[in-house]
């Protein structure tokens, strides 16, 4: 019976190919020919009998029928494998048995290692992230920022990332070697009013205050840096008064990125801008705030200094807002470029402005994120010094090392139990290298398990990364192919690090000694190594604990420090200088709010990061003094609002607009004036303004306590305070009220009434100050978490060793108890050895911790003394933790019934 009347063509008669393939794959090669032959013959027969299609079904069924072990098992080859694979199988089997036999020790090891691995992975991820900043630009290693060093007449050095405005053009003509010269202004911190399609809209109410946003760049910026445009082209930024938005901001302003192009925004209530493009959102690892990109031509066309001060002809002033980026040609040495810049600096500065020596040089693009001597464009991305990044890497490495140490300790302690196995293997002809391979296999298995567990832990703990280091917790950023490679490397490294020593110890046992039960020789050496490893672990943990305690104390000190001014209940808000004519109205209205004790307008708060600095003349009004003073522009109520005390003279009047000065004690000290009262009434010249000194204030803290080690921050700065209406960017209100929220609400209402054009942004002084210490607090948290982890890992190791010793000495303890030893006596006996080690660790750790923390404290202007009791407390902590760990085992051993331990002979 055939399905078709036509005879099937010969090649249609072949059995199904897929089934054949399957057969060829699973059947053992030596059976394949006969079986396949039989199947094909049967197929030919079935085609005749039931037809092609059903024969195909039969064939499939038959092929699947052969999926049996006997048909699949490969035959012995004519040339069998060398015994290696068999031995490896044996190693694995023995490894598995010995790991399961010492279950508790195995789990101690795996636990310690996986916690170590997880912590180290988290740290290394952070390190990688921090090092990845702005590396995604094409050949980012050829991009540099032009910075300037200035040697002042006093000999002090000052560095700034700012450049005079005419410099970009001059660089283009003078230094042909630079492939690109890109001037950038940032950031504007503008208030943005969304106008929509009508550029003249006056009733627009949608306002945003964009902190740390607003860069001014030209089209060439996008040829240097890879920030892709979604809509529009960078060339559009060649004309003035146009703006490009990031996708997020376009959606925030206009609801949809497609809608944004062609619409209008008003910047700071003075310039209307047309949106010409939308940029893709920048990755998180860039130091450029890429949300509001205003054309650089706007700055050139602007006559009102609304986009930074200075003119394009003036070489005198600089602002750190005006930065320049250049690209060097391939393989162009930086030293050569610096030499060119030096010549350039001589040409443009020599004798032209003042006697200060100014020299430009290049700073790598990567240092935008790492060099905290220079200002960046945004405070939202903290500058992370390389030193701190390497510290993280070191802590990560230490954690791993400590976990390995645990392993080495426990494995070499357990070695005695396997002495017999080693002896037998050696007698039967094992080479030393084979034994080492065997024990490394065991370590390998354990490390593998720990890595798997560690990666799982890392994944779970990823959100922690965000809180600890302000690093994005996006798993896809870290879990990629590179991580796989790194883990493979880690697997090999950890296996060798933790397995090699125990393996060598084991493999070196002499069979003769083993069978005569004299394995002590290898042992003794093992003991000293083990002891020094425990000392190492505890010393590391102690260094971290001491550092943590000192760190916490320093932070505590800073938060309680007397700053010389009062910040309680001071409420700050921003002012727009465009509308300064209405400041007086605002003051009067605010003073009428119940609970408001004082109102002041100023350039900034008493201690803040923004600095206005200038030279001035005092002793001889025609010659500048040889140091720079910090300026604060403030009205007369500044002192009352902040509770700043006068040592001589009195504040100028609130409404006073004539040049008058208030100075601080440090300034007088620098001038060499002993008696503050003598300067009152004497004239002082600041730039081209001359006026009398009316008061001397007691020193107050002028900047955040830590200034990143910048030389200019040495202690409290000399300060000049003067009224100047045009520079009041901040309003401060001293509130003396039981009902703070209500008062704040009223202040807001008053502000909205006086300045309907301006968005209200405000915070209490304490909050503003805390931002400065955020970096330090993060570091404190980091120390605490990882100090805890190291002590945990060290204790795991100690616990393991204590358990082992107690077990080893069961019989001894039994005999001692029979002879009348007390439980306390036995606990002391067992704990003594370990305590000795911890004491040694304290002795080693203390000077190291002292040295490290002393160096860290040098960065602070106001710092605590390192006191001896910190070390004592840390030592006590370590001793008690160690005692607690050990005593669990020793008490167990001491309480054991001697009958049990002695009977088992």
């Amino acid at each position: 019976m055939k399905p078709n009347s036509q005879a099937p063509s010969p090649n249609r008669r072949t059995p199904p190919r897929l089934a054949d393939r399957l057969l060829e794959w699973f059947v053992a090669p030596h059976r394949l020919e006969a079986l396949q032959g039989d199947l094909h013959e049967e197929f030919a027969y079935q085609v005749e009998r039931v037809g092609f299609q059903r024969a195909r079904w039969h064939y499939w069924r038959d092929v699947l029928g052969f999926m049996r072990p006997w048909a699949m098992k490969r035959g012995q080859s004519e040339y069998p494998n060398p015994t290696n694979t068999d031995m490896i199988q044996n190693y694995l089997k023995i490894a598995w048995r010995s790991l399961t036999r010492h279950r508790s020790f195995t789990s101690l090891n795996v636990l310690g290692l996986s916690v170590g691995v997880a912590a180290a992975l988290l740290l290394f991820m952070t390190v990688r992230y921090e090092l990845s900043f702005d590396t995604f630009h094409t050949e980012s290693d050829r991009i540099y920022r032009v910075v300037r060093e200035q040697i002042l007449a006093s000999g002090d050095k000052e560095v700034t990332p700012g450049n005079p405005l005419p410099m970009a053009a001059a660089l283009k003509t003078d230094i042909a070697q630079f492939e690109a010269v890109v001037p950038v202004f940032g950031t504007l911190d503008p208030q943005v009013t969304v106008l929509g399609s009508d550029p003249n809209a006056t009733k627009a109410t949608t306002k945003f205050l964009e902190d740390d946003e607003g860069m001014l760049v030209g089209p060439e910026f996008f040829r240097l840096f890879n920030f892709p445009w979604l809509i529009g082209r960078p060339d559009a930024l060649a004309q003035p008064n146009v703006i490009a938005l990031s996708k997020t901001f376009a959606e925030k302003y206009f609801g949809d990125a497609q809608q944004a192009v062609g619409k209008f925004l008003r910047i700071n209530n003075h310039t209307t801008m047309r949106v010409v493009g939308v940029l893709a959102d920048a990755p998180p690892n860039t130091s450029f705030p890429m949300n509001l990109m205003i054309s650089y031509a706007t700055k050139k066309a602007d006559k009102g200094e609304r986009y930074g001060f200075g003119s394009f002809e003036d070489w005198g002033g600089t602002s750190s807002n005006d930065q320049i980026f250049v690209r060097l040609p391939r393989n162009f040495p930086v030293a050569a470029a610096d030499a060119l810049l030096k010549k350039f600096s001589l040409k443009h500065y020599d004798k032209r402005v003042d006697s200060d020596q100014k020299t430009h040089s290049l700073s790598p693009l990567a240092d935008l994120h790492h060099d905290n001597r220079f200002d960046t464009f945004t405070n939202k991305v903290a500058v992370v010094p390389l030193q701190r990044i390497w510290n993280l890497a070191v802590v990560g490495g230490l954690l791993l090392l400590m976990a390995c140490v645990n392993f080495v300790n426990i494995a070499s302690a357990l070695a005695t139990r396997r002495a017999k196995e080693v002896g037998v293997r050696k007698v039967l002809g094992s080479q030393k290298s084979q034994l080492v391979a065997q024990f490394l296999t065991e370590t390998f298995l354990m490390v593998l398990a720990s890595l798997v567990l560690g990666v799982a832990l890392t994944y779970v703990a990823l959100p922690l990364l965000n809180t600890l280091f302000a690093v994005p917790a996006d798993a896809s950023l870290y879990f990629n192919a590179d991580l796989g490679l790194a883990l493979l490397g880690l697997l090999v490294l950890l296996t060798l690090l933790s397995g090699l020593y125990p393996a060598l110890v084991l493999a070196s046992f002499s069979p003769l000694d083993v069978f005569r039960k004299q394995i002590a020789r290898g042992w003794l050496r093992g003991i000293s190594v083990r002891q020094s490893l425990i000392v190492f672990q505890f010393a590391t943990a102690l260094v971290l604990i001491i550092s943590t305690m000192i760190n916490l104390r320093q932070m505590d000190y800073l938060s309680r420090m007397d700053t010389g001014f009062s910040k309680e209940g001071v409420f700050n808000f921003s002012l727009d200088t465009e509308y300064r004519t209405r400041n007086a109205t605002l003051r009067n209205e605010l003073l009428r709010v119940p609970g408001v004790a004082a109102v002041t307008f100023s350039s900034d708060m008493p201690s803040s990061d923004s600095r206005w600095q200038s030279t001035f003349a005092f002793k001889n009004l025609s010659k500048n003094e040889d140091f720079i003073a910090s300026l604060k522009m403030a009205d007369g109520d500044y002192f009352k609002t902040y509770g700043i005390r006068f040592v001589a003279g009195a504040p100028y009047a609130v409404g006073d607009t004539l040049p008058k000065f208030v100075v601080n004690e440090t300034l007088l000290k620098k001038l060499g004036v002993k008696n503050p009262a003598t300067v009152i009434g004497r004239n002082l010249r600041l730039g081209d303004v001359t006026g009398p000194i009316v008061g001397v204030v007691k020193d107050f803290h002028t900047n955040s306590a830590r200034d990143g080690g910048v030389p200019r921050a040495g202690g409290i700065q000399p300060i000049l305070l003067t009224p100047s209406n045009g520079f009041y960017y901040a309003g401060s209100v001293k509130i003396r009220s039981q009902n703070l929220p209500q008062t704040v609400e009223r202040i807001k209402a008053v502000y909205a009434r006086v300045f309907p054009e301006v968005a209200f942004i405000s915070r209490f002084y304490d909050e503003a100050l805390n931002a400065y210490y955020k970096a330090e607090q993060q570091m404190g948290l980091l120390y605490r978490v990882f100090a805890g982890l190291t002590i945990f890992i060290a204790c795991l190791g100690l616990f393991g060793l204590a358990a082992f010793t107690a077990e080893q000495r069961t019989k001894e303890i039994g005999v001692r108890k029979v002879l009348g030893a007390s439980v306390a006596g036995i606990i002391t006996l067992l704990s003594k050895d370990f305590l000795k080690l911890v004491l040694v660790a304290i002795l080693i750790a203390s000077p190291i911790a002292w040295y490290l923390m002393n160096a860290w404290l040098q960065d602070f202007t106001y710092r605590i003394d390192i006191e001896w009791w910190v070390f004592a407390l840390a030592g006590l902590l370590a001793v008690s933790i160690a005692l607690l760990t050990v005593s669990f085992q020793s008490i167990k051993a001491a309480l054991m019934n001697p009958v049990k331990s002695l009977r088992s002979e």
Binding site: A34, Q36, G37, E41, Y45, G65, W70
Partner: protein, 112 residues
């Protein structure tokens, strides 16, 4: 009675190998078995049985000649070993002995 246990199916396959006298191979045995016993046995079952018999040392195998319908592949031909032949004879003898004690008209179970 100390001899290797032989299953019923194995016994039949072994008998067929013996009766085919040197020309026994997978497909041949399967077809003959299906014809003679009115079963529907599949190729892989026969091969499995042959494999077991060879493990027990009752058959030996060698490679034969290729044929076109096999795609030029050689047959695996099976022959009974002396041990296999003796086992068959023993089984037959045991059966014969048992038959001899069976009455000519045995009482058969009825109903229920």
């Amino acid at each position: 009675m100390k001899r290797t246990y032989l299953g019923e199916f194995e016994e039949i396959v072994l008998l067929l190998v013996a009766s085919l006298d040197g020309d026994a191979y997978g497909v041949g045995i399967t077809h003959k078995l299906n014809e003679e016993t009115d079963r529907s046995v599949r190729l892989n079952q026969v091969h499995a049985a042959l494999h077991r018999l060879q493990e027990k040392g009752m058959v030996a195998s060698r490679l034969g000649d290729p044929t076109p319908e096999r795609g030029g592949r050689r047959k695996l031909l099976f022959t009974v070993t002396a041990y296999g032949y003796r086992t068959l004879q023993e089984i037959k003898a045991v059966r014969a002995q048992l038959w001899s004690s069976v009455p000519i008209t045995p009482k058969l179970a009825t109903g229920l």
